[in-house]
């Protein structure tokens, strides 16, 4: 199969992170994934990605700021001609470090915020970081970098969407991503604690509409979570189609969760990136439509949603080639309905924080 042109490189520089978010989408066994690429190796990956057609690099993790060679990595991506976007929790970078990154070619910053109040935010992050994040946001704007705020929404903070928007305005964010929690990785383990009710979501959607009506900025992204929609999301814009993920150890993946699937992916530490993207058996496993079964195979929606998320199919249906169980037509949809109904009945649980390093 010929591979499509990737436009976006998601560079997971490390899975290490000073935070321990209960909804972290990193693999449960993240400690086993070493930082396998040094700055020169990342520079090579960026150059090869640009040759494949990539225009954009999102530097993420874990927390990219824990890499002492982050400046070199940013410079490598900029030298390859890529748009360099940093996704960070705001610790441990300080203002001087951020200024250095900007001078090295950083184009924009996405900061995660857990909540509007320090107590609530720090509880889900498992660390005292809220105040520091607010300071970080101010530094981003002082340095005239565009700021995206990303707030993961779940059962325990959905009520505060209006306050989140107000905070985003105070922080002069260009864009606010209200990201309804995606139930992968640690978030799936914490599903009962995180999954909201339908009425919480409806109230949040109303608050978003009000906020959009008040002012055009920040641009607010709010998408109904797939557990409460009857159709799945077009996960990553399709498997191995537009987005190329490189994990900290160099493994080239179609999305950050795919390493958990029983597939063979190749590492950019060992082979040219183009081979890893076009020829690795795992990358080709769910490209196109040949792998689809009923009901996706004949469904008109398949050109839009590509059958949904393979990782969710594997996690909930036990088989990555099944339709995404978030889809009401999927054979394994009951798994989603059961979880949703439990959430509606108020059967919640206490979350566990992401496991510590080592």
């Amino acid at each position: 199969m010929s591979a499509p042109r990737p436009y976006n490189l998601i560079a997971e520089l490390t899975y290490r992170c000073p935070l321990r978010c209960a909804y972290c989408s990193n693999p449960l066994d993240w400690q086993r994934v070493r930082d396998g690429l040094d700055a020169p190796a990342w520079s090579r990956v960026f150059r090869e990605a640009a040759e494949l057609g990539v225009l954009h690099a999102g530097l993420t993790g874990g927390e990219p700021g824990v890499r002492s060679d982050l400046r070199e990595i940013v410079a490598g991506a900029a030298a390859a001609g890529l748009y360099v976007h940093l996704v960070t929790a705001g610790v441990p970078l300080d203002r001087a470090a951020l200024a250095t990154l900007r001078d090295a070619g950083l184009c924009s910053v996405q900061l995660s915020l857990q909540d509007v109040r320090a107590g609530d935010g720090d509880a889900v992050a498992g660390a005292e970081v809220h105040e520091r994040k607010l300071a970080f946001a101010a530094w981003v704007r002082e340095l005239e970098l565009p700021l995206t705020l990303n707030v993961v929404l779940h059962r325990h903070n959905l009520e505060r969407v209006g306050a989140v928007v107000a905070l985003a305005r105070d922080l002069d964010a260009h864009r606010l991503e209200l990201a309804n929690v995606q139930l992968h990785g640690w978030a799936l383990a914490n599903r009962a604690a995180l999954l909201p009710t339908r009425s919480q979501l409806d109230a949040a959607a109303a608050a978003v509409r009000t906020a959009r009506a008040e002012a055009p900025r920040p641009e607010i992204v709010f998408v109904l979570p797939d557990y409460h929609a009857d159709r799945p999301k077009a996960c990553m814009g399709g498997w191995g189609r537009k987005n190329l993920v490189v994990a900290p150890d160099g493994t080239v993946l179609p999305c950050h969760g795919a390493a958990a699937l029983p597939l063979e992916f190749w590492s950019a530490a060992e082979r040219p990136l183009a081979d890893c993207w076009t020829r690795a058996p795992g990358m080709n496993a769910y490209r196109g439509e040949a792998w689809m079964r009923e009901p996706c195979r004949d469904c008109p929606e398949r050109e839009r949603d590509f059958g949904g998320c393979r990782c969710q199919a594997f996690a909930l249906a036990g088989d990555a080639a099944e339709a995404d169980p978030a889809c009401a037509l999927a054979p394994a949809h009951a798994a989603v309905v059961t979880a949703r109904e439990a959430a509606e009945r108020g059967e919640s649980a206490q979350w566990v924080l992401r496991g510590r390093h080592g």
């Binding site: 436009y7 976006n8 225009l55 748009y83 924009s108 995206t148 864009r175 900025r217």
Partner: protein, 312 residues
């Protein structure tokens, strides 16, 4: 479980409290007297397209009912808009409003200046009525519940802030101060009587929400035509290294354009308004038909994607 009659009515009214276009920033500016003559003209030229869709959607609603009593009542709405003779009715009164603000009647009537966002929103309204059941279609008309009040406020605002429009121009608004409440007084009880099952009630609320969103989008598109677009701080323009296509890269995505897109973006200098950009391009390309709506459509799309932002 279905809602009681009172609760159902409260839900429907709640939709209007939250989403009716009297809350739209453009409408608020209109009523505060903050619109320029050009902005008023754009609104009136574009809103005329909505006016022309109303008798169409009412005709569709007629085809959905087998009840002569319903049709007798509903057909009145078509007469209200079309009149019962030439030079009468709501459409005609709207054209007089257009003339009163200095537009050419023919230019408004031929719909050539209608913005794509407005066209889409209004066409969506007709489609909504086509696709849904009779009771939902009627429920979607219940924006009339808010129309009486908005018309009173509007007449006062025009008299105070835009006295140059003149009395003849306000006749449409005046006619609606009585028609809309009359229609709502009939339509609301009819919906309450005919939607008693929970699922039908839910769909009626959804239809009214969809209608409110359509009116809102109409004003969004009108407002955008007068803002001053410029590249966002996050956007970087470059030519694609593989195929040379003009491209804008953003924190979350890359947007690929063609040569016309490049030409339009080159004009987004933070000084020209969308309207001025569209006129510049019309002068530059006199051979291209209906170029202005296309330019506005492109600018709206770029704003939605985060390539452009615009100041009022």
């Amino acid at each position: 479980m279905s809602w009681s009659r009172d609760e159902f009515e409260a839900r429907l009214r709640g939709v209007l409290d939250e989403r009716y276009h009297d809350r739209h920033p453009f409408n608020r500016r209109m009523h505060e007297g903050a619109l320029s003559r050009e902005e008023l003209q754009t609104w009136i030229r574009n809103r005329y397209y909505y006016q022309t869709r109303i008798p169409l959607k009412d005709s569709v609603i007629l085809t959905k009912s087998g009840d002569p009593a319903f049709r007798r009542e509903w057909v009145q709405r078509i007469h209200d808009h079309d009149g019962t003779a030439e030079r009468e009715g709501g459409l005609e009164l709207w054209l007089r409003l257009a003339e009163a603000v200095g537009l050419e009647r023919t230019e408004v009537e031929d719909l050539s200046g209608v913005l794509p966002g407005v066209r889409e929103a209004c066409d969506d309204y007709v489609r909504l009525v086509e696709e849904r059941d009779l009771v939902e279609a009627v429920a979607s008309s219940l924006t009339e519940l808010g129309a009486g009040k908005i018309m009173h406020v509007r007449i006062e605002a025009f008299e105070r802030h835009y006295p140059w429009v003149g009395e003849e121009g306000l006749r449409y608004f005046r006619s609606r101060t009585t028609q809309a409440p009359k229609d709502a007084d009939w339509g609301l009880p009819w919906v309450l009587d005919h939607a008693t099952r929970a699922d039908v009630q839910g769909r009626c609320v959804a239809a009214l929400e969809a209608k409110c969103d359509i009116l809102w989008r109409l004003l969004d598109a009108v407002a955008a035509a007068h803002r001053v677009p410029r590249l966002t701080a996050a956007a970087r323009r470059r030519d694609d290294p593989q195929d040379g296509r003009p491209t804008v890269v953003l924190p979350e995505r890359a947007v690929r354009l063609n040569d016309s897109g490049r030409e339009i973006l080159d004009l987004c200098d933070g000084k020209r308004s969308a309207d001025a950009i569209a006129r510049t391009l019309r002068l530059r390309h006199p051979d291209v038909e209906a170029i202005e709506p296309d330019v506005h459509g492109f600018l709206a799309e770029m704003e939605r994607l985060g390539v452009l932002e615009s100041a009022a």
